[in-house]
Symmetry: C2
Subunit: 406 residues, 2 copies
């Protein structure tokens, strides 16, 4: 079993860097605080005897050799960048539980067949630079290094410059690093485990995501003198579509998700019938085929609405992330570990995107979820208890040992 | 008949003060441009032999004596302040057609029994200082002078200071000025006259208005990991209510109007289920009793929705303007004038608030509408043709003569 107190202490120590008044953490990617966080974790890795390899997008791998170093390593990790009003656990828990696994192997003098590695990926959050999951995306060849380098923050600074500035632009070509299997421990960021009072979620897949912007264009007019029948009220049509987004998600249950998170009304004046409305749509489901069906349903509704109302409705896809079904071996390794350790466990899907999505395209991949209080994350009050954190790390230990071979 | 060319020229001359690139006018109340506009109109009035009386809120009355100056005057007017991206006609047409009526009486040496007056009211638009229809509201005793004086613009400047600065804080107590009857000629600001190809609208009433802010409070959560059934999606509930606003307006036809013009979503992020949504509601109808029924229907829907969804829904009334049914004598005077002049005419209601609303509480009041292109106003492209403008002023002339007695 891992040392729960040491793991908790490391989480709290790392959260000091960028600590916020409400007990959260603001450590945006590629800032000086990120550098300090990286230095601390790399220092811990070196103290644990690990060798360090940094690639050109700033992903950091730290390695504990095995009996057979020609075997591809069993890798675990996540990210240490946070949201602007982020918590102490999102990402950090996955990285530090991988460190704790290695410290535990050291404490007990356990040798593995394959090498064991921990990794933290650059810019998972996407708060400062888009797209999200940048480091793992470049590593998996989803988008080119040069494109990631060129991304700018709101101040116009580039990823390339900021990466050099903090000294984490490594020499290794992203994606050249071998991976035998990848595990990521993470807080659930949702309410299910807590509601079901279950300790460990055996993650089956990450939902596929599709993002759109939809703009309805009507005709601005005065709220008083314009009779109801003569209006081209963009908001009236848009609210109908927003309700259809929810209906479509419910139709493609149990894993369908539909969210309108962002709305912009023009001219947004109390006594003017809105001339145009733009809103975001976030669709998710278990398989890309299911997301495709939601996409088709949305387009059908939009076509009907256009015909019925005569208003112009433009739908633009903003981005998409493929569904990532996890490898049976890794799912079973997680389940067996939970069973062996006597933790209650259940199958679960990850609704949120993770670096594991891109890793699953390269190697057998699995994820371990632990509950978080009230399902809240991306929030300073994000919380998992020391017991929950320890349980997740113990499962990670045993899943990795199964794959690495003792 | 009035001199249509002179009226048109005066409209174009006044619109030079604050002229905008797209052919509109930006002459916000109590600015230096407003002073220039006031000076121009007062100069024209003096040149026409009128005496000038200014009250403490800056309303300007200009008088042409009658045979019997102990009779209360027959007054016509409107406002000369504009929206930030306003047009040349809204308000200005009412003021300058009153001036044109007086110029025409002078040209033809026509004496009236009662005196005839023109007036322009301070701050009808409410763009710079709230509330709208400020000058006429103070005059009618709807709110006290001191309250109007204390109103501030976004720069923190008060009505009192700005009024003194432009030299239009008069000595007369608002409301002390007698009014025998009041007429206001105005562009329709809606599509009906144009659609029906009718020259003159005989305005029956101004709709009563009630404004609200409605806030739905749910629970912010991550768009991915939160299953549909476990959400407290404030926007989903709010869009249902927004549709009910429209349904209620349609239910209280033909004069019911319901508009949601303003929406604010929190935190307004693509992958966050909205935690709260605030939106405006604008209800209008022909009588206050009908508006009351709409209010009751809205509150019933909110109560049902609260019970059904469990989300908190707060409704706050922001302001209200009473319905203003116009006096039979004035409506008939307008109708007869249109008939006599051979103009096509129809009964119409004013959906927008006007200074005539408050005047109707003090004296018999009537309004004359002319068409405006595509029903557009509060816009730089606002337009009525010289023929339409002339027709409205001719009707005003004959309606005033009927009431003043020749
Ligand atoms: N884990 C996480 O919050 N990812 C951000 C992308 C998303 O799932 O919306
Ligand atoms: N005439 C006019 O636009 N009044 C403003 C108040 C309103 O009717 O919404």
């Amino acid at each position: 079993r891992i040392n729960g107190q040491r793991l908790w202490q490391s989480l709290m120590d790392l959260a000091q860097i960028g600590a916020t008044p409400k007990g959260g953490c603001c450590r945006l990617t590629l800032t000086d605080l990120d550098r300090q966080g990286r230095d601390l974790v790399v220092g811990w890795g070196k103290a644990a005897g690990l060798s360090v390899e940094i690639d050109q997008i700033g992903n950091v791998f730290m390695r504990r050799g095995g009996r057979n170093n020609s075997l591809p390593p069993i890798v675990a990790g996540s990210h240490i960048d946070t949201q602007p009003t982020g918590g102490k656990f999102d990402g950090n828990f996955g990285v530090l539980s991988a460190l704790e696994v290695i410290r535990t192997l050291n404490d007990n003098g356990i040798e593995t067949d394959a090498p064991v590695e921990m990794v933290f990926w650059t810019n998972e959050e996407g708060s400062r630079f888009v797209p999200v999951m940048m480091g793992s995306g470049v590593f998996a060849g989803i988008f080119p290094l040069e494109q990631a380098y060129a991304a700018t923050d709101t101040a116009g600074k580039t990823v390339r410059d900021e990466l050099y500035k903090i000294g984490y632009a490594g020499e290794h070509t992203p994606g050249q690093h071998p991976i035998g299997a990848y595990f990521e421990a993470h807080i659930e960021q949702g309410p299910i485990l807590e509601e079901q009072d279950v300790t460990i979620g055996v993650v089956q897949a990450v939902l596929g995501i599709r993002w759109y912007d939809c703009t309805v264009t009507g005709m601005e007019s005065h709220a008083g003198p314009t009779p109801m029948a003569m209006r081209k009220d963009a908001l009236q049509v848009a609210t109908g579509l927003m309700q259809e987004v929810i209906a479509i998600a419910n139709q493609f249950a149990p894993h369908g998700r539909g969210t309108v998170g962002m709305v912009q009304v023009h001219p947004n004046s109390r006594n003017v019938v809105p001339g145009s409305v733009t809103f975001s749509i976030d669709f998710r489901n278990m398989t890309d085929a299911e997301v495709d069906k939601m996409d088709a349903a949305l387009k059908a509704v939009i076509q009907q609405t256009t015909q019925k109302t005569g208003l112009d409705i433009a739908l633009r896809q903003v981005s998409q992330y493929p569904a990532a079904p996890f490898h049976a071996d890794c799912k079973e390794a997680v389940r067996r570990a939970a069973q062996k350790l006597g933790y209650s466990h259940m199958d679960i899907v990850s609704g949120a995107g993770h670096d594991a999505v891109y890793m699953s395209m390269l190697a057998p991949t699995g994820m371990i979820f632990i509950p978080c209080k009230d399902g809240i994350s991306h929030n300073e009050i994000e919380y998992s208890s020391p017991e929950q954190v320890s349980a997740g790390a113990n499962v990670l230990l045993h899943a990795m040992l199964e794959k690495a071979g003792v």
